[in-house]
């Protein structure tokens, strides 16, 4: 009886949802037909993606996604699943595209397509503004915080693999005493904000994120030059080669006609779309 009830509910939802689910290879058709491009964004990272008080979004990734949709002849619509849900792949047609400053790692490439790298973000160390450390090398043996299972943690652990064309080479300058990882790299900034050396001695994150935090009153200071440049790509679900090819074409055109550069200068003040 109970089982019947549950399966009944499930079946009901399934009927309602069956129109929403798409089989592989149909993303391109769906976008062309509905004239809507559904883009997943993790709105936790100004100036890439952040939510405004009215619920709409703004940022570099948002502008790039909007431009891609425009060139596909579609309206853009944003959804906000958790980052790990986006990177898990198998989107089941819930959304078509991620323009989320995602690093195309070999692991992720098993479940997602990376049709086009659209910019390179500099990764930099930061310390509390009262900190005595002056160079990146000073941080060896110290407590350093960053996001868990992200490229910055990989850099600290010295097993970072950047497998993309045009990415400049880098070297490991620091051997941390202790690596503390958080849900996002912004949490590390909150811990460093409490006081120099209280919970952390330093952190590593995307330079634009650190700059944005400082702009918003975080007592932090960028330490030295960026330590590596990370290529960031748009991502699509596996299985629709036509859609991925089209995305590569669109982003390539945006790079060539300078519109990517323009968006980058609007949000970062510099052109980050070239890997040097």
């Amino acid at each position: 009886m109970k089982l019947l009830g549950i399966t009944g509910i499930l079946a009901g939802f399934a009927v309602a949802a069956s129109t929403l689910s798409a089989t592989a290879g149909e993303v391109m058709d769906r976008v062309t037909k509905n004239k809507v491009l559904v883009v997943a964004t993790d709105a936790a990272y100004p100036p890439q993606s952040a939510q405004k008080p009215d619920g709409s979004f703004e940022g570099f990734d948002i502008d790039v996604a909007t431009e891609i949709a425009k060139r596909l002849g579609a309206e853009v619509k944003f959804v906000t699943p958790a980052w790990e849900v986006i990177t898990a792949g198998r989107w089941g047609g819930r959304w078509d595209l991620s323009v989320g400053s995602m690093t195309p790692t070999p692991e992720r490439a098993k479940v997602l397509d990376f049709p086009a790298i659209y910019y390179f973000t500099p990764a930099a160390f930061y310390v509390h503004k009262d900190s005595k450390y002056q160079t990146v090398e000073d941080l060896s043996g110290k407590k350093i915080g960053t996001c868990g299972a992200c490229t910055y943690e990989a850099y600290l652990k010295k097993n970072l693999v950047i497998d993309a064309e045009g990415a400049p080479p880098f070297e490991y300058l620091v051997t941390p005493g202790e690596i503390r990882t958080y849900e996002t790299d912004v949490n590390a900034m909150d811990d460093l904000r409490i006081g120099d050396g209280k919970r952390l001695d330093a952190g590593i994150s995307a330079l634009p994120t650190v700059v944005e935090a400082i702009k918003n009153g975080y007592p932090l200071r960028v330490l030295g030059e960026p330590v590596f440049y990370e290529p960031l790509s748009v991502a699509a679900d596996k299985g629709d080669a036509a859609f991925s090819a089209k995305l590569g074409e669109v982003v390539g055109a945006m790079r060539n006609d300078g519109s990517l550069t323009k968006i980058s200068e609007k949000w970062y003040g510099v052109d980050l779309t070239k890997g040097d």
Binding site: K2, L20, S21, Y45, P46, T80, A213
Partner: protein
């Protein structure tokens, strides 16, 4: 000797002195220098702002605090009971708000985001929770009856279900339904997935509440019903359940309030409930505290409203006890 000491402690005046000393010791142990509280009292101790408090200043501060607290408790105890509760609530609330206020929050930032937090966030949280608790009640009742039945398969399925959904984290269940079901060809939207996960999880907990409620009705009641010639369904519906409700309602209200907050887990699927919006909005300008505290107060307010509703329902089912 112990009797003399006992008599000494029993003296009302001595009790107050001991209370005063205890507060004093606690206040002295905690270093208030540099906090908003000390700045409030500092002028009285003759210490300028920013100056380091020495031992005498700290003692002076502690004495003042202890006098205040003791006088406060002394006065409050002289009030009628109902007024006492009101005064205590008001004082704790003021302390609480002063604590938040001391974080130097940006109120324009909160004001700009209050509409979306309430009309989208809190609204989503409440409606997802209400639908889920409704479905959970149906599931729980079915599972409880199956658990109490002599039907082997029904008993087996019910215990398996209760065991699994109580024994695994809700977050994992949310992921299983949202990411796992599409592998079987069923792709659900975020809100239905969340409602299913919450209903199944809470249905399992509440099945045990319902079972306890039903078993809490003395068997003589059911026997009497049967003796009067009522059919088993009538015995359950007209005699056992109305009495069981009295036992079921308080813990169910408890579950609902817990669910209000657990519903924040559905945010991993991108549902814009209160916690999701509080986190996301806070990150837009790195003002996490503003949004987290606002969300906390909104959750609290909603919980209070539902606590009041629960006490009404309790009064309704408890009317059999009144004479």
């Amino acid at each position: 000797m112990p009797r003399i000491l006992g008599g000494f402690i029993e003296q009302p005046r001595t009790k107050w002195l001991l209370f005063f000393l205890a507060v004093l010791a606690a206040a002295f142990a905690f270093d208030f220098s540099g906090t908003g509280l000390s700045e409030l009292i500092m002028p009285l101790t003759g210490l300028g702002p920013g100056e380091e408090a020495n031992g005498t200043d700290r003692l002076l501060l502690a004495i003042m605090l202890a006098v205040l607290v003791t006088a406060d408790v002394f006065l409050v105890l002289r009030l009628p009971f109902v007024v006492q509760i009101g005064v205590v609530w008001a004082q704790l609330l003021i302390l609480f708000l002063a604590f938040f206020y001391s974080f130097d929050l940006s109120f324009p930032f909160i004001a700009a985001r209050l509409p979306i937090l309430i009309f989208t966030g809190a609204f989503t949280t409440v409606y997802v929770s209400l639908i889920s608790i409704g479905i959970a009640c149906v599931i729980a009742m079915t599972a409880a009856l199956a658990r109490l039945s002599n039907n082997g398969p029904a008993y087996g399925i019910a215990t398996f279900y209760i065991s699994f959904f109580r024994g695994t984290p809700l977050l994992l269940q949310v992921y299983l339904i949202y990411l796992g079901l599409p592998q079987l060809g069923v792709t659900l939207e975020a809100v239905p997935s969340g409602i299913i996960a919450l209903s199944l999880c809470y249905g399992a907990y509440m099945a045990e509440i319902f079972r306890a409620g039903i078993q809490g009705v003395p068997t003589g009641q059911a026997e009497a019903g049967t003796a009067l010639g009522l059919r088993p369904v009538q015995v359950m519906g007209k005699i056992v359940l109305p009495q069981a409700m009295k036992l079921i309602v308080p813990p169910t209200g408890n579950q609902f309030i817990a669910m209000l907050k657990d519903s924040s887990l559905v945010s991993v699927m991108g549902v814009w409930e209160l916690m999701f919006l509080a986190r996301t909005q806070g990150r837009s300008e790195f003002k996490h505290f503003e949004m987290l505290i606002t969300a906390a107060l909104i959750y609290w307010f909603i919980s209070i409203v539902f606590e009041l509703i629960q006490s009404r329902i309790e009064a309704y089912y408890g009317k059999g006890d009144r004479r």
